[in-house]
Amino acid sequence: MSIDTIISIRDLVVNYHTFSGVVKALRGVDVDIRRGESLCIVGESGSGKSTLAHVIAMILPRNAVVERGSLKYEGIDVLRSSDPGFRAKIRRDIGVVFQDPATSFSPLFTIKQQFVDVLVKALGVTPEEAINAAKKALKDARLVEVDRVLNSYPHELSGGMLQRASIALALAKNPKVLIADEPTTNLDVTTQAEILDLIKALKEKYGLTLIMITHNFGVAAHVCDRTVVMYAGMVFEEGLTRDLLVKPLHPYTKGLLKAIPRIGGDVPNPIPGYPPDPKEGYTGCPFYSRCSSAMPECTSRTPPRVMIEGRVVTCHLYRGY
């Protein structure tokens, strides 16, 4: 692992045990995240992108089990460490923002109270200092009426303001990493753009490592240096965002890009079919039934993970490289 890799994931397999079966969310994921970069994880629902984010942030639900694999943060395996101090370090170093700002805060407490309660523990400061840190963070999040926001209850604020407040809370403790799980999906289009710009700006300003989850390639194009494309719990392609956009290698990535409507471009072409049932196992490649470049070995053998042109592709097409 090189010096500037902050998070290193190897062969991660995560299952959810549900009443209707075992959901195989991650089927062997390898990703390296470099310090200070902005990485987007793009995929459809069920691709495992949120699960990946949750594993890194250590907020998996009770019925999730890590079957095998490693997740190293700054060299230490998060999944196998029983050191409570390490867990506290993760909480301090990693800030998380969720998709729905309206439910991210407790409706029964003021924003101020929630900031104080988080920062008192995350920063180890007094309540007064926590309030000051909160004010600073809210200003950073480009909120104008900082005092009003602090004294408000969540239901009194708009979605956009709440999302800014969530970002502020995640960043107020000066983390090294920010994980944003579809932070703009629930917002209207104008606010979406503002929030994305805000995240980008704050990332630059504080030198954060940004991990953004999204189903929208456009967001990835806007914000991220590198992008990981996930499907059915596997990484299909990984590389610099502009490389992926200009010359996608994996058939799935190609299909995703063709499905995006573009002004003046062709009629969008969604990929036919549906992702496989996450409760089922499969042999070979999960994309086989929808792939226009499918070959016989795609059903029988697991596609190899290949490094090409500084990128990673998991596909039989590139087997020989």
């Binding site: 407790s106 409706p107 309660d117």
Partner: protein
């Protein structure tokens, strides 16, 4: 906290409406439904002159709306009739029996909440564990037990067989006289403390334990089950994950945020639990011969004492509505989301 005068007035107005509704319903029940209400009213041992007198008293020869008018007028002026059993005005009987019932209900309900809320919370935090299963089992058994039977069993086992606690009577009058105790509020526990009369306090306490436990069984079980399922729900909410992921102290999260989110709906349903407590208390009073409204109403039922039966029912219904109003106000005070 958004409890405005407007809201208060509106709710009080609704309360009056509900009270009227209650009165109309009881009116219909006692005057309109029975084919010959004067027979019912005069009782099983009536002579002809009693029946005729009943007809006159109930204004049965007048049009229905006039009967309703008399009925309502009587209730609102405090004329609730005279009990055939005690020969006293019903309202007076009910009011003098009230403190005994209230004391029993308050102690029983308090027991149910004080034990039930922490127990349900504790159980949910250990979801799926053996401790959780034990608590759930106790709660579901408690919710299946008939109150009056539980009261009987308690009285039998602890009162008669083990002779651990006295069963029956609120207070040892002999002891009270000896120690110079006299009731002020009618709540003996409070009064004895106010007078610094410890022997009487202990005596009253010993006598209230068994009935209070009997009263508390059902609401306790209800509370445990409700708090447990609410807590499980709250623990799954987004804000819990958000705050935890961003570093909040686990204990703060659970005992301040989760607890508060749980308490709010619990408060909202307190009114209903209280309703069950009231009815339970009545049956416990019958079994323990506790001189409260339940006992009074029970005796009235047995002796077909219609004025007393009616008065008790109306009183309890009105009281219950008032309690629900108070509960709603408290809920609105605590939960900033409640729109008025």
């Amino acid at each position: 906290m958004p409890v405005t005068y407007e809201y208060l007035i509106k709710r009080l107005f609704l309360l009056v409406l509900v009270v009227l509704g209650v009165l109309v319903i009881t009116f219909i029940l006692t005057r309109v439904i029975p084919a010959r209400p004067e027979l019912l009213w005069a009782g099983p041992h009536a002579r002809l002159e009693d029946i005729l007198r009943a007809r006159k008293e109930l204004h049965l020869d007048e049009p229905l709306y006039m009967q309703l008018y008399y009925y309502l007028r009587d209730f609102f002026t405090g004329n609730w009739g005279v009990s055939w059993r005690t020969r006293q005005p019903v309202l007076q009987d009910v009011l003098s029996a009230l403190p005994a019932t209230l004391e029993l209900i308050v102690v029983g309900f308090a027991l149910a909440l004080v034990i039930g809320i922490p127990l349900g919370f504790y159980s949910a935090l250990r979801l799926g564990s053996a401790k959780d299963d034990v608590v759930r089992s106790i709660a579901v058994i408690g919710a299946s037990m008939p109150v009056f039977w539980a009261a009987l069993v308690l009285q039998l086992v602890f009162g008669m067989w083990l002779k651990v606690l006295p069963a029956g009577k609120r207070i040892d009058t002999g002891l009270a006289i000896m120690t110079g105790f006299h009731p002020i509020t009618g709540f003996y526990l409070l009064d004895s403390l106010l007078q610094g009369n410890i022997p009487v306090f202990i005596d009253v306490l010993k006598r209230i334990v068994l009935p209070a436990i009997a009263v508390s069984i059902y609401p306790l079980s209800l509370t445990v089950r409700m708090v447990r399922s609410l807590t499980i729900e709250v623990l799954n909410e987004n804000f819990v994950r958000f705050l935890e992921a961003n570093g909040i102290d686990k204990k703060t999260l659970i005992y301040r945020y989760v607890l508060r989110s749980v308490i709010s709906p619990v408060i909202a349903s307190l009114g209903l639990s209280f309703g069950y407590t009231i009815i339970g208390a009545f049956m416990v009073e019958l079994v323990f011969v506790w001189p409260g409204i339940g006992y009074y109403a029970g005796m009235a039922l047995l002796s077909f004492d219609y004025p007393a039966i009616l008065g008790s029912i109306v009183f309890v219904a009105v009281f219950y509505s008032a309690i629900n109003l108070v509960v709603d106000l408290i809920h609105a005070w605590i939960d900033p989301r409640v729109k008025l």
